[in-house]
Amino acid sequence: MITVGIDVGSSTTKAVLLNGSDWCWVIRPTGCSPRQAGREALEELLGRAGLKREEVTCMVGTGYGRISLPFIDKAVTEITCHARGAHHLLQGIDMVVDIGGQDSKVILTDGQGNVVDFAMNDKCAAGTGRFLEVIAAALGADVSELADLARGAEPVQISSMCTVFAESEVISLLAQGVEKGRIIAGIHRAVALRVATMAERLGKGELILFTGGVAKNEGVREYLSRELGRKAVVTPESQLAGALGAALLAREKAGLSRRERGC
């Protein structure tokens, strides 16, 4: 059975095609039209797999853009999808820390990929991928360079987590002559601390998977492990956890009787 999961995030769209134990994927920027991004990701994915739309049994959409995808069979929240995808990437995980483009979340699972509890940031972008992008711009750097720039630097104390205020704080630190690397290290630590506080309220996970675009940042990764008191594991496919979970849920859904699944 062939199923597809599409995760339309605020900054990137991820699509996963699942065929038995094989899977392939595409990642592309979401841009300003989540619907178009979803459609294009699907076309690219089908092209890569050499398959037609009709050969896909079931499609599940997730991410903030899930509601704008007319071609999916079902929309499932990114929380449920991340938990399922993370379990597939790393058996036995019981906590997922996800920091995406516009939100961050901590998901506590039962170790089998089912959500037990979760926490999400408020409606602002504090401590998310967008936050890192804004700070990077203020420092004249690209977000992908942040980890290299901060390597080995002693973090400076960043007191504000608000994207707007932190930007002005960064600018005044620069004016004071504080080294760029120290500021970035401070920002990395602040992002990690914020999400670790969220995790603390849910209870401690034993095996933690770190997902979302920000998981690619080695600096945030290190501080997160330090703040959580255990290693936050990142796999090469971390960013795909949501889309993979969606494809897995699509398979489960298609496996149910036609009457029950209603798709």
């Binding site: 499932v76 990114e78 929380i79 449920t80 089912n114 959500v115 979760f118 409606k123 489960e252």
Partner: protein, 388 residues
């Protein structure tokens, strides 16, 4: 199947605004109240009409923010905004206003409100576990009685108090009977309709008529339940909503919970069970003022410290309504409810092992999508990831 009579309830807030005006033309006085602690019996015994002024709409908030700080709870800002902009017919109709020191934001707002209308602020005790608490509250009731008599030019007699007690108790019993119909599984009535019904009782010109209408609705819902009809899909997760008061205009979380597939079967808040659960002792040998004081002090609001009554009530409701999950709705900057959330969370988790979701929001629509994600994820968690 929706009860036919709901149409009447839906339009009641508007319809009754006209009735209030004609009642006033006939010389009746109107007393506005902000919270469940306001003793309605005294108002009725004074021959006046008690109406609810608790702000539940977003529209007047911008006007309120010209005077009040932005980081205040939406309920206070909405209430004050209605007064400032003169857009609430019930506020306009009020001859006298009863307020309480429930929280810091409210009690200071009432000082400003006093510049617009005559306001009497009742001082609540900080908790109910001290020896002097009931006596304190009783004295506050006597002071209110004097103020009402002065302002409305009437005398509140013991006989009138006794009959007002009966009228209010009848309304409470009727509401509770209706609310308990949602103990049925599946629930025969949506949470949104239930909320509408409870909400509009605050705008009744004639309480007896209002109670009769609630009984009529209950009759219809009982019939729907008996036929096993429900507005919900089979297996819809049964939700208990607790926390800050909710009304029509601020019902977005109730609406989202039900749009996303949940069934809100129980409202544990002062816009729900808390106003129906406790009756005033009707014993004719007792001082009615003392009986009234006792009843109101039983309301388990987060402004009381400690507030163990809320946990006990929650425990009972979780069992009685066989709920699948608890949602704690707190308005931004409502400190007492937001802090108390931690105690409620632990209580629900440790004693019932039930999934629990806290939502903090305001009356605006700016976070609808974020709320939808949280609520959908919570419901997916309750019903197994594939049947949401």
């Amino acid at each position: 199947m929706r009860p036919q009579i709901m149409k009447i309830f839906e339009n009641m807030r508007n319809d009754n605004a006209l009735s209030i005006q004609s009642a006033k033309k006939n010389g009746l006085k109107v007393v506005g109240m902000f919270c469940a602690y306001a003793p309605q019996e005294l108002v009725l015994a004074a021959g006046a009409i008690p109406v609810s002024l608790c702000g539940t709409r977003h529209e007047p908030i911008a006007a309120a923010e010209k005077v009040l700080p932005r980081n205040l709870c939406p309920l206070i800002k909405s209430s004050f905004g209605f007064a400032l902009t003169d857009t609430c017919p019930y506020f306009r109709a009020s001859d006298f206003i009863i307020a309480e020191t429930t929280c810091d934001g409210k009690k200071k707002m009432f000082e400003l409100l006093g510049e617009i209308k005559p306001v009497h602020v009742m001082h609540l005790p900080q908790g109910t576990d001290r020896n002097g608490a009931l006596q304190w509250w009783l004295e506050e009731l006597y002071l209110l009685k004097v103020r009402l008599e002065e302002n409305l030019g009437v005398t509140i007699s013991t006989d009138n108090l006794r009959s007002a007690i009966k009228v209010c108790n009848r309304e409470r019993k009727a509401l509770k009977e209706l609310h308990e119909l949602n103990r049925h599984d599946p629930a025969p009535m949506t949470g949104l309709d239930m909320l509408t019904t409870i909400f509009v009782k605050g705008f009744n010109v004639d309480k007896e008529e209002g109670t009769a209408l609630i009984n009529q609705l209950a009759e219809e819902v009982r019939d729907i339940a008996a036929r096993g009809i429900s507005p919900f899909a089979n297996g819809a997760p049964r939700i208990l909503l607790t926390g800050c008061p909710v009304g029509i205009g601020s019902e977005k979380v109730v609406r989202l919970l039900e749009e996303c597939g949940g069934s809100v079967v129980c409202f544990e808040s002062c816009s729900g069970i808390k106003v129906m659960e406790y009756l005033v002792d009707e014993d004719e040998h007792r001082d009615p003022m003392e009986a009234i004081a006792e009843r109101y002090l039983r309301i388990p609001c987060s402004c009381m410290s400690p507030n163990k009554g809320r946990l006990e009530l929650l425990g009972r409701l979780i069992d009685d309504y066989r709920v699948d999950g608890v949602v704690d709705l707190t308005w931004q900057a409502c400190h007492t409810y937001i802090v108390e959330d931690e105690l409620v969370r632990r209580y629900v988790r440790d004693n019932f092992g039930l999934p629990y979701l806290q939502l903090e929001t305001d009356y605006s629509t700016s976070d609808i999508e974020q709320l939808k994600t949280r609520i959908s994820a919570f419901l997916e968690m309750l019903s197994g990831s594939c049947s949401s």
